[in-house]
């Protein structure tokens, strides 16, 4: 019983992390139709910022966290301005290749100018302490992760439903040109999408760093892969889909860890992706894919 409760909490906290990651991809995709594979490098920038802050500025974890989130948000907005704005109205393939290019350039910058080796940051270990809740031992990190994700989702929903810019972002996912024709600035909508994406990357970075404790140039690869899978399963372009996909991926991963016999442990990912492939056979566009415009001229 205790074991089951523990695993459910594991699944929820993994899912929460994947949901945060997937939302960061999905919010940019929904507005711009761009799969931002450089999202992982934005997360890595957060990790390196923590290194820099811890080494040069302060040991105060709160300041380190704020610095990292600010760095990822700024990086994301800067990438939009420098790399993605010129290809904004280009073919989706061009955007995809640009994102890969940005990702490779950033990885090599980390490699050349920082270090090819992992660098440890220990300031966030305190987040990951064992606590007893109702007789079940869990990690405080899992609690923080789940609470953060819930707060982020609520905040995002309120923003997208209550504010004019939020509404414009949802409208832009359907007909960007029409949003421009109402006079709302395209630049603002895009910059905002990347800002939110960067903030989400920063939050995810905190939890990944607290768990791993070190950052290396390929730090972002695994997270962006998980985010991509979660988005595909949930339905690319759908924000609820990204959240659902994230939690589903977390649940399936933990279920495989628990259910697979020890000697098949190495096949965990194969089973996870096999299940995801089956989901896609059932719903080829993802579970909550947005309804496609039929394109009929009225």
């Amino acid at each position: 019983m205790e074991y089951a409760a523990q695993q459910i909490i594991n699944a929820l906290s993994f899912g929460a992390e994947y949901a945060l990651l997937a939302l960061g991809l999905a919010i940019v995709f929904s507005v711009m139709g761009l799969v931002n594979f450089a999202h992982g490098e934005v997360i890595a920038v957060g990790g390196y910022t923590m290194v820099a802050f811890a080494a040069l500025v302060t040991a105060n974890p709160l300041i380190i966290i704020i610095g990292a989130v600010a760095a990822t948000a700024l990086t994301s907005v800067a990438l939009e301005r420098v790399a993605f704005r010129p290809v904004r109205y280009a073919d989706p393939t061009t955007g995809l290749l640009t994102a890969f290019g940005v990702s490779i350039v950033l990885q090599n910058l980390f490699l050349l100018f920082i270090s090819p080796r992992p660098i440890a940051v220990t300031s966030l270990y305190f987040l990951d302490a064992p606590v007893m809740v109702l007789g079940v031992q869990i990690s405080s990190l899992q609690i923080f992760e789940s609470i953060t994700t819930v707060v982020v989702i609520i905040g995002l929903v309120l923003f997208l439903q209550r504010t004019t810019l939020g509404l414009a972002m949802r409208a832009a996912s359907l007909d960007f040109e029409m949003v421009r024709l109402t006079g709302i600035r395209a630049n603002r909508v895009f910059a905002l999408a990347f800002l939110i994406s960067g903030l989400l990357a920063g939050l995810a970075c905190i939890f990944i760093m607290a768990r791993r404790g070190s950052v290396d140039p390929h730090f972002g690869f695994n997270p962006v892969l998980k985010a991509f899978v979660a988005c595909v399963v949930g339905g690319f372009g759908s924000l609820p889909g990204a959240v659902l996909g994230g939690f589903l991926l977390g649940a399936v991963e933990v279920a495989m860890l628990v259910l697979l016999p020890q000697e098949y442990g190495g096949l965990k990912d194969a089973f996870v992706f096999g299940i995801i492939a089956l989901v896609l056979v059932w719903r080829p566009d993802g579970i909550l894919s947005p309804a496609r415009e039929k394109g009929d001229k009225l």
Binding site: L167, L174, M178, T182, I184, A186, L298
Partner: protein, 234 residues
């Protein structure tokens, strides 16, 4: 108010409009008539800045050549586009909110929304429904109301009667006539020549990207032979 000289509009390598000139004076309702493919929507797109064009488009004396799409709307041009292009995933009220998105007088935006719900009670009843669930006629009303939410100086209406039942078309034209009588400056693009001329001061006949005839509504409406010959309409 709007003065267009020698406008050419291109879609990639294809020239859709071959150097037309037209003007709309303040308070006027001007009809731009013509069959499918005449270049009407291309002209509207050029005025909004979303089509590649040459020639001059002057709005209130300023050349718009270097003005972005968003700034043109900010200067007082609003458009209800062909096919209405309602944000079908957003509620009726949210569609209107976005229409007023460039305004800074927040307190009056809600008042304007309520005004439109009074004008079109059906929109008010469905304020929280997704825009995509409205009928064609309701969507057209919403598209016009959304455009007017920015409190424009000129309203560009692109084929507001397209795909609507005759009874609904009559309602749409009645609404446009009402707007005109309230002093709104309107450029009305239509295939439905007779009904459009009934509510317009002046008209241009466009075919194959050129203006074939122009005149006051009475003049154009009186020479039905010419219109029939040029456009197959009437």
């Amino acid at each position: 108010m709007l003065d267009i000289q020698n406008l050419q509009v291109f879609h990639g390598p294809i020239e859709a409009v071959h150097g037309i000139s037209l003007s709309v004076a303040s308070g006027q309702c001007v009809a731009l008539l013509g069959p499918n493919g005449a270049g009407k929507t291309s002209t509207i797109s050029a005025i909004c800045g979303i089509a590649q064009a040459s020639g001059t488009i002057a709005f209130e004396g300023t050349d718009l050549a270097k003005v972005s799409v968003e700034d043109r709307i900010g200067r007082g041009i609003a458009v209800s586009p062909e096919g209405r292009r309602i944000f079908s995933n957003l509620s009726v009220e949210a569609n209107l909110r976005i229409g007023g998105g460039i305004r800074s007088d927040r307190e009056n935006i809600q008042a304007d929304i309520d005004k439109w719900f009074d004008t079109f009670p059906i929109l008010g009843e469905r304020r929280s429904q997704p825009g995509g669930t409205l009928s064609g006629g309701e969507q057209q009303m919403l598209a016009i109301a959304r455009a007017l939410m920015s409190r424009p100086k000129i309203l560009l209406l692109d084929e507001p009667s397209l795909g609507l039942a005759p009874r609904i078309v009559a309602q749409v034209f009645q609404m446009i006539a009402q707007l005109r009588s309230e002093g709104m400056t309107i450029l009305l693009v239509e295939q439905n020549a007779r009904q459009a001329l009934d509510i317009s001061d002046y008209g241009y006949l466009l075919n194959n990207g050129r203006i074939q005839a122009q005149g006051t509504s009475a003049e154009l409406g009186g020479s039905k032979d010419m219109m029939a010959k040029l456009t197959g309409l009437v």
